[in-house]
C-alpha cells in the first residue's frame, strides 16, 4: 500500500475505514434537509388524453401509464388517479416533497432507516464490525428500495430512483462504499426530479462516488498522475456516453479537473484540496468537448459538470434511457417522443421532472409503449403491492434479510451490480433460463411466507387457493409490464 505523503494524506481504503469509524456520522442523516423539487411537470401539450374520457380503451391506456409511473396499480391508486386525472396526479407526484411524512408508510420508513447503526464501532473496524456494517447497509438499501417501491405513496419518485441508481451507479462491493451508500441513495431520491446538472454535482462530491471511482485519492500535484477512473466514467457512463466525442487526452484532462475533489480525513465529508489540484495540460490551453477551465479550482469542476449536463449528447442519452424505461425498451433515440422530451430537458434547464411527465402523458405513449419484463426488484415490489398486507415496522429487519435472499438469487440486490454501469435495462438480460427458475423460486418462497413479515393473501387476487395464486404471480400478466 502507498504510504501517506508528508504534506498530504493518502486516503487509502484501509485508512478510510478508520476515518469512518472515527467520524461516526450516521449515514442517511447527512443529506440536506428540506430540499424541494423545483419543477412541476407541466408541459403544455398532449395533456388531455389519459384519464380524461371514458371507455375500455382509455381505461387500458390509463392503466398502462399508471403501471409505468408506479410499481403496480392497486385499487387505491386507481381510485386516486381516476379522481384527479393522470396529469394532475403526475404533477403532484413530481411536486411532492422527497420524504413523505404522511400515511402509514411514514412509520415503516422510519423503521427502515433505524436499521442503520449510529456508528459502526470505534477505532479500526474489526471483522465483526464490517459484517455488521454490511448487514445494516445492505438491509437498509434493500428495505428502502423494495418496501418503498411496494408501499410508499411517492411511486413515481421510486421509479425514477430505479433508473438513476443505474445511470449513476455506485457498487456496494467495497466496504467504505457500503457505509456511504444509504446516504447516496437518499441523495438520489431528493434530486430525482430536479436539475440533472445539480444531481451531477451532488453525485461527484458524494463520499460514496468519491470512493467508488477512487477520486478521493486522486492528486495531480508535482509529478503525480491523477486517477482517471472517475473522469472516464463521468463521460462514458454518467453523461455524454462512449460515442460522445471525447478522446483519451480528454479523459486525462477530465481527471485533472477533478484532482483534489476528496474527503476530509476527520469528518469524511467532501472537501476540495487545492494542494492536490492541477489542471495539467489544460492549464496551457485546450478544451474537453469544447469546455475550457478558468483556473478556479473546485469551481472549474462544478462548471464542467454543468457543461456536461447541458451537452446535447448527455441530453439525448439520458432522455433515451428514461424513454427506454418508462415507455419502451426498444424505442429509437430519434423517435419523436424522445426528441420532444430532449427539447423539454433543454428548455427546462436539465430538469428531470418535466421530461418524465412528458414521456408518460404524451399522446404518443400508447403507440410507442411495448411490453417489458419486470426486473427482479420490480417483480417483488409489484407482487407485494398486489398480494401482501403492509408489513409491521417491527418486522423490517427480518423482512430486509428475506428480501435480500430472494433478490440475491435473482441477481438484483440494490446497488450490488459489480461494474460501474448499473443493472442492465433490456428484458433479454433478465430472461435466461437460470433467471426464470430463480424468479419462480422467489415467488414460491413469497407465496409460502418464506420471507417472515410479508404474508401473501390469495384472496387479494381473487382466489382462495395458494397454488392458483402462484400461477397468477408467474403469469405474463404480472411478469410483464
Amino acid at each position: 500500500m502507498t504510504a501517506a505523503g508528508r504534506d498530504g494524506w493518502h486516503l487509502s481504503r484501509r485508512q478510510l475505514l478508520q476515518t469512518i469509524a472515527l467520524a461516526g456520522i450516521a449515514a442517511g442523516c447527512s443529506s440536506t434537509e428540506g430540499a424541494s423539487p423545483r419543477a412541476s411537470g407541466s408541459s403544455s401539450t398532449t395533456r388531455s388524453g389519459p384519464g380524461a374520457g371514458g371507455g375500455a380503451d382509455s381505461d387500458a391506456d390509463l392503466r398502462l401509464r399508471i403501471e409505468r409511473a408506479s410499481f403496480g396499480v392497486t385499487p387505491t391508486l386507481w381510485k386516486e388517479v381516476s379522481s384527479v386525472g393522470f396529469a394532475t396526479w403526475l404533477d403532484r407526484q413530481i411536486a411532492s416533497a422527497p420524504k413523505q411524512a404522511e400515511g402509514s408508510f411514514a412509520e415503516l420508513d422510519g423503521a427502515i432507516d433505524a436499521i442503520l447503526p449510529e456508528r459502526p464501532g470505534g477505532g479500526r473496524l474489526a471483522k465483526e464490525d464490517k459484517a455488521e456494517l454490511r448487514r445494516a447497509s445492505v438491509g437498509v438499501l434493500t428495505a428502502r428500495t423494495v418496501l418503498g417501491a411496494a408501499y410508499a405513496p411517492d411511486q413515481l419518485r421510486q421509479r425514477m430512483v430505479d433508473v438513476l441508481a443505474d445511470r449513476l451507479h455506485v457498487s456496494s462491493s467495497g466496504v467504505p462504499e457500503l457505509y456511504f451508500l444509504p446516504s447516496y441513495d437518499r441523495m438520489l431520491r431528493e434530486n430525482a426530479f430536479g436539475r440533472f446538472a445539480d444531481l451531477l454535482v451532488e453525485m461527484a462530491s458524494h463520499p460514496a462516488m468519491l470512493l467508488s471511482l477512487d477520486n478521493a485519492a486522486s492528486r495531480a500535484d508535482g509529478t503525480n498522475r491523477p486517477n482517471e477512473n472517475f473522469g472516464r466514467e463521468l463521460m462514458e457512463l454518467h453523461t455524454v456516453g462512449v460515442d460522445g466525442g471525447y478522446d483519451e487526452t480528454d479523459v486525462v484532462e477530465a481527471a485533472h479537473v477533478f484532482s483534489g475533489w476528496s474527503l476530509d480525513r476527520r469528518t469524511a465529508e467532501f472537501t476540495f484540496k487545492p494542494e492536490w489540484h492541477s489542471l495539467g495540460p489544460l492549464a496551457e490551453g485546450g478544451d474537453i468537448l469544447g469546455w475550457k477551465p478558468k483556473g478556479r479550482g473546485e469551481a472549474d469542476g462544478k462548471d464542467f459538470l454543468e457543461y456536461l449536463a447541458r451537452h446535447p449528447a448527455t441530453a439525448e442519452r439520458l432522455v433515451h434511457l428514461l424513454a427506454r424505461r418508462f415507455v419502451s425498451e426498444e424505442i429509437a433515440a430519434d423517435h419523436p417522443l424522445v426528441k420532444e422530451a430532449v427539447d423539454i430537458y433543454d428548455e427546462q434547464d436539465t430538469r428531470l421532472g418535466p421530461v418524465v411527465a412528458h414521456l408518460l402523458t404524451s399522446d404518443r405513449f400508447p403507440a410507442a409503449a411495448t411490453k417489458m419484463l419486470r426486473r427482479p426488484i420490480d417483480m417483488v415490489a409489484t407482487t407485494l403491492r398486489r398480494a401482501a398486507a403492509e408489513p409491521k415496522p417491527d418486522d423490517v429487519e427480518s423482512i430486509a434479510g428475506g428480501l435480500f435472499g430472494v433478490l440475491r438469487v435473482m441477481g438484483q440486490v440494490p446497488y450490488a451490480w459489480p461494474a460501474p454501469d448499473g443493472y442492465p435495462t433490456p428484458s433479454a438480460a433478465w430472461s435466461n433460463a437460470g433467471a426464470v427458475i430463480s424468479r419462480w423460486n422467489s415467488l414460491i418462497t413469497l407465496a409460502h411466507d418464506g420471507v417472515p413479515g410479508l404474508a401473501l393473501d390469495p384472496r387479494r387476487i381473487d382466489t382462495s387457493d395458494r397454488d392458483q395464486m402462484l400461477l397468477t404471480l408467474c403469469s405474463p400478466d404480472l411478469q410483464l409490464v
Binding site: 502507498t2 486522486s218 503525480n224 435472499g405
Partner: protein, 374 residues
C-alpha cells in the same frame, strides 16, 4: 474430446503484474513503487516472470503446459471497459450482439442441442461471449436448478438451499401454457428454456464431491468449485465460463501482497484445482485490456491497452507465445496490443472446439499463428 473453460477477468487485469518484465529498466522507472522485484517472480524466459502468487501456474509453466501471450489485445481497441469487453466477447466482429462461443454453438447445435452445452456459473445471466444460441445457460451453481422454497442465510457467501417441498402444486406445464403467445419474445424463450432445464434436472445431477478445499476460500473458490461440478455432472457440457471481478485496480493495487495479489491467488488456486480434477480441459484466461504502464498517485493503474492472455491444460504448448515488444515504445503510455487476441480465439475455435468454419466464429487476422495448442 477436449473441453473448454474460459476464465474472464472483468475490469482489465494488469498484464504487467500478472506477467512482469522484471528486468526492463522502463518497467522499474515507470513503476517506482509498484514494480515486482526480479527475485520475487517465477521466471518464464529470462525476460518475463509470473506474479509470485501464481504458485500453481508456475508449476504448469515448469511442466510445459502453460502458454502465455503478453502484449495481447485488439489493435486500436478502446480503453473503455464496456466497449473492450463487448469487442472481445464478440470475437472482434460485429454480428448483432452474438458472442464468439455463441456462434460456434449455433453452428454446431444439431442433434446435441441442449442448454447445458455452454454453462456460465456464478450468474443468472448469459455472458455476451455465449450469446446467439439457445445452447447456453447461466446459473449460480447446479444446486440452484430445481423448484422450491429458497432458504438463504444472511451472509454474503452462504449458499442458498432449495426446499423442494415448497414446489408441490407448482406445475411448469401450466405456467408454460400461460406464456404461449405472450407478447415478449425473450421472456417467452426464457420460460420455455427454464422448463426444459428443469425437465433435464429431473434425472439428477452428479453430487458434488464434497470436499472443495482445494479451490481455496472466497468468492473465486466458490465459482470455480461450481464450475467443476458442472463438468463432473453428466451434462455433456462443452464450454464452461467463469467470470471473476475486481481487476479494475485504479487504487492501491499492491505488489507481492495486497488487492491484486489476493485476486491472483484466487485465480491460481481455482484454475489449479480445476485442472487437477479435469484432465480433458483446456483453460483460457483473458481480460478486456491491460493497464497503464505508469502508476498513478493513488498506487494503482488506469486503463491501458495490451494485456496478457494465458492458455493451459490439455494439449497446450507451453512457453511465451507471440512477440513481446518491450516497454521502450508505448501506445499513449500503454503496452501496444502486439499480439492479436483474435488469433488466439481463432486457434481455440479450430483446435479445441473443432468449429467447422472458423471464419464464421472469429474473423481471420493477418500474421502468424500463435501455435498455442497442439
Amino acid at each position: 474430446m477436449t473441453r473448454l473453460a474460459i476464465v474472464f477477468l472483468r475490469g482489465g487485469a494488469d498484464g504487467l503484474s500478472l506477467v512482469a518484465p522484471v528486468n526492463d529498466a522502463d518497467y522499474r522507472r515507470l513503476r517506482p513503487t509498484q514494480a515486482l522485484a526480479a527475485s520475487a517472480v517465477h521466471d518464464l524466459d529470462g525476460t518475463l516472470g509470473l506474479h509470485p502468487s501464481f504458485e500453481r501456474l508456475a508449476g504448469f509453466a515448469a511442466d510445459g503446459t502453460l502458454a502465455v501471450v503478453p502484449a495481447a489485445g485488439y489493435a486500436g481497441q478502446t480503453r473503455s471497459h464496456f466497449q473492450a469487453q463487448a469487442a472481445l466477447e464478440a470475437g472482434g466482429t460485429s454480428t448483432g450482439g452474438t458472442g464468439w462461443i455463441g456462434r460456434h454453438l449455433a453452428a454446431t447445435a444439431g442433434s446435441k442441442s441442449s442448454p447445458f452445452r455452454a454453462v456460465a456459473v456464478g450468474t443468472v445471466s448469459i455472458p455476451p461471449t455465449l450469446r446467439g444460441t439457445n445452447d447456453a445457460l447461466g446459473v449460480p451453481d447446479l444446486s440452484s436448478i430445481g423448484l422450491g422454497t429458497l432458504r438463504t442465510g444472511r451472509g454474503r457467501k452462504s449458499r442458498v438451499r432449495i426446499d423442494r417441498s415448497g414446489a408441490e402444486g407448482f406445475d411448469t406445464a401450466t405456467v408454460l401454457k400461460a406464456w404461449s403467445g405472450a407478447p415478449l419474445e425473450p421472456a417467452v424463450a426464457g420460460v420455455t428454456a427454464a422448463t426444459a432445464v428443469l425437465d433435464r434436472s429431473e434425472t439428477g445431477f452428479a453430487e458434488s464431491s464434497g470436499d472443495d478445499s482445494d479451490f481455496g476460500t472466497g468468492e473465486a473458490a466458490e465459482v470455480f468449485a461450481a464450475g467443476s461440478q458442472v463438468l463432473d455432472a453428466d451434462l455433456d457440457t462443452e464450454v464452461l465460463m467463469i467470470n471473476l471481478g475486481g481487476w479494475d485496480t485504479h487504487d492501491a493495487q499492491g505488489t507481492t501482497d495486497g488487492a491484486l495479489a489476493e485476486l491472483i491467488a484466487g485465480l491460481d488456486r481455482g484454475v489449479g484445482a480445476l485442472l487437477d480434477r479435469h484432465d480433458d480441459l483446456c483453460v483460457v484466461i483473458m481480460s478486456e485490456f491491460g493497464r497503464r504502464v505508469a502508476e498513478n498517485a493513488s498506487g494503482g493503474f488506469d486503463h491501458g491497452t495490451g494485456g496478457v492472455a494465458m492458455v493451459l491444460g490439455a494439449g497446450v504448448r507451453g512457453g511465451v507465445h507471440g512477440e513481446w515488444p518491450g516497454l521502450a515504445t508505448l501506445d499513449q503510455g500503454d503496452v501496444p496490443a502486439t499480439n492479436d487476441l483474435r488469433a488466439l480465439q481463432a486457434e481455440i475455435a479450430e483446435k479445441v472446439l473443432h468449429t467447422p468454419k472458423v471464419s464464421d466464429v472469429v474473423p481471420k487476422v493477418a500474421g502468424p499463428t500463435l501455435d498455442l495448442v497442439a
